[in-house]
């Protein structure tokens, strides 16, 4: 069975090659059907492999098995988390393709295969990154998924904003990837290995009783820089809102739903396999680094989210806030934390993709994603409005949604004052979504006044369809409904939490078992978050003559300058910060 693992990468890539070659001659329905079928077949395979992933398996691609402990082959890992991420990637790609079924207007006319082909490459690359067992292949798939993501972000090449966002995305992410490769080079220099588990053992052997040294710290910082750029952690996050605001909606669903989360997954995988031993970075230092950056990310993301009027940008900042929460949960390095992060990522993927899908419906119906301009105009889109509001509540972690379960388990794991960060970040981001729902779909409250603030408005956007839609197609309401139902099922199906927890803990956490089920404490905190979100949205909608943002926000907003040079400078500063946070362990060792 485990010989089938490399197919999760190969099938989408072959499908993409087929579509790229034959796309010119295929009519559009045939091309899209091919894309859907290949994607669905990969998703089915990933699901079957996931159900057979206990105990975890390792496959050597092409039969290059290690001889005498030495390996030159490509290691593919098939454990719960890797196959879980691959399944999530495949299912989300499937829903994005279904969402774009016959609606998405593509500029390269006459080549119907180009969009599904790119989506399949994206799927294959993300699956490859999830399954990679050696660091160099992780880098290659990291770059592959990045490059496809740049191309997909700038897919509407006639859009001024889209190409700018794609270029920023490209420069910052590629720079992060090169930092990661430099770190991999340093690790290879020390250990002579590329396989993650063998690098881990090599570091422990090389360190002897001495603990980590400067080279290990440098490698750690460089590899994590790459992964945290992908995970959009403050201060590496600036590319994300620019890219997510301009990418086509089906692409946003994938970027926000799963690609950013793959960065968090990478941090978990790389730390647990490479740096967790005595020759790596001590646990206390990793916790300090990840929890500090995670809290900073959650707070910045939540505050910036609240003061957005561009709906897709608002959702993008909410993704940043939630990624911060995932990082905190992973950073506490307990089995419960890992379980919480895994469940939260699963629930968040469904909810955030559904919210983006609803925002896409607004864009294609009204040619705008501006909260102020759309005030009260979307009353007719009842189904989309209900889905958007339900998505907002789910984002707050309202029980029994999967996001609520993940949030509850994470809160139990982090404990203490960090719980407050979870409640506030989820409440503020969900409050912003509910505020949009109340204003746009119900027309509640006075229309907000336009100010000439330093912001991106989101009005006068070109729809992704050929011309404005007169009615929203069924696929564009069915897909978010199914995604939200899936997020609901994750929290309600009995034993789902325990199942995820078991497969996560089997792969990491040193075999420790934790259970992940609803507790009274978690349910209450979820209800508090949801109530707080509703209260915030009500307050925002009913208060009239509110200035669009207080004065203290201006410096924070000015940081998000859209200037690629600034973002590169922040990336360097972030690496330095990361090194400073992880330094005490090396000095003490």
């Amino acid at each position: 069975m485990h010989h089938l693992l490399p197919l999760l990468v190969a099938v989408p890539l072959l499908g993409a090659a087929l579509l790229a070659a034959a796309g010119r001659r295929l009519p559009r329905p045939a091309a899209e059907l091919t894309g859907l079928l290949v994607c669905a077949a990969t998703a089915a395979l990933a699901l079957v492999l996931l159900l057979n992933s206990s105990p975890p398996v390792v496959e050597w691609a092409g039969g290059w098995v290690p001889v005498g402990g030495e390996s030159v082959g490509i290691e593919v890992i098939g454990d719960g988390p890797s196959l879980g991420m691959a399944t999530l990637v495949s299912l989300l790609t499937l829903s994005a393709l279904a969402y774009s079924w016959r609606y998405f207007d593509e500029p390269p006319r006459g080549h119907a295969g180009s969009f599904p082909a790119l989506m399949l490459v994206f799927q294959g690359a993300m699956c490859g990154f999830a399954l990679a067992g050696d660091l160099f292949n992780a880098f290659v798939f990291f770059e592959l998924m990045s490059v496809v993501a740049y191309a997909l972000t700038g897919f509407r090449i006639d859009e001024a904003k889209a190409v700018q966002g794609a270029l920023t995305f490209g420069v910052v992410n590629s720079l992060g990837a090169y930092a990661m490769l430099t770190g991999i080079g340093l690790l290879y220099a020390r250990t002579g290995e590329l396989s993650m588990s063998k690098i881990g053992r090599g570091l422990d052997t090389a360190a002897g009783h001495g603990g980590p040294d400067a080279l290990v710290l440098a490698a750690f910082v460089l590899v994590l820089t790459g992964l945290l750029v992908k995970a959009a952690t403050v201060p590496f996050h600036f590319w994300l809102p620019d890219a997510h605001a301009v990418a086509p909606t089906p692409v946003c669903m994938l970027l926000s739903g799963v690609m950013v989360e793959l960065g968090v997954y990478g941090v978990w995988r790389v730390y647990g396999t490479v740096f967790a031993g005595p020759g790596g970075i001590p646990a206390a230092d990793l916790t300090r680094a990840l929890v500090t950056l995670g809290v900073l990310t959650a707070v910045t993301g939540a505050v910036m989210c609240w003061y957005q009027r561009h709906i897709k940008r608002l959702l993008a900042f909410s993704t940043i806030a939630h990624t911060g929460l995932f990082l905190v949960a992973v950073g506490v390095l307990t089995p419960e934390g890992d379980d919480g992060a895994a469940l939260y990522i699963l629930g968040h993927a469904g909810v955030k993709a559904a919210l983006f899908a609803c925002a896409g419906a607004l864009l294609d119906r009204f040619g705008s994603v501006d909260e102020h301009e759309l005030h009260g105009r979307a009353r007719e889109l009842r189904a989309t409005g209900v889905l958007f509001a339900v998505g907002g509540l789910a984002l707050a972690g309202l029980p029994p949604f999967g996001t609520g379960l993940g949030k509850a388990v994470s809160e139990e794991a982090v404990g203490g004052p960090l719980t407050v960060v979870y409640v506030l970040a989820s409440a503020v981001t969900a409050g912003a979504v509910l505020r949009v729902a109340a204003r746009v779909f119900l027309g509640l409250g006075p229309p907000p006044e336009d100010t000439d603030a330093y912001e991106t408005s989101g009005s006068a956007e070109r729809p992704e369809t050929s011309g404005l839609l007169r009615r929203v197609p069924d696929t564009m309401t069915t897909v978010p409904a199914v995604l939200l139902a899936a997020a609901l099922a994750m929290g309600t199906v009995p034993g789902f939490g325990d199942l995820v927890a078991r497969s996560v803990n089997e792969a990491g956490s040193g075999g420790a078992r934790a259970s992940a089920a609803w507790t009274l404490h978690g349910v209450l905190l979820g209800l508090v978050s949801a109530a707080l979100a509703v209260a915030l949205a009500t307050a925002a909608v009913t208060r009239s003559h509110r200035p669009s943002a207080p004065a203290w926000m201006t410096p924070l907003r000015r940081l998000q300058s859209g200037h690629v040079g600034d973002y590169v400078a922040w990336l360097l500063l972030g690496s330095t910060l990361l090194a400073a946070l992880a330094l005490p362990g090396v000095l003490g060792g």
């Binding site: 740049y150 270029l167 080079g185």
Partner: protein
Amino acid sequence: MSALMQVLPYLIAAYVFLTGCYGLATSRNLIHAVGCLSVCQVSTYILLLAVGYRSGGTAPVFSDIKPGTRPLVDPVVQALTLTDIVVGATVTALLLALVLQIVKRHGTLDPDELRELRG
């Protein structure tokens, strides 16, 4: 070989990487910025090849030497560098294509004048 000669390639790699980053951060031209990104990437080639270097080693090609008779430089890093070059070519080509579109849509190459996305 002196200690300096052993460390020198790593220092050069770090210097090249930081030079590229400086160029990116201060760039006034997007084509120049994409070039700077390639400069950053070149530092990874230097680092990888330096890692694989063996004093007195020869190229890992066995057409004219018997395996085991001479020291060889590490072929793995050379394979990595080749892969890295392919990755870099893809990224540069795509980013330059995006720059072309930016010039068409914004009418400027100066990142300071791109004001569509902010806040």
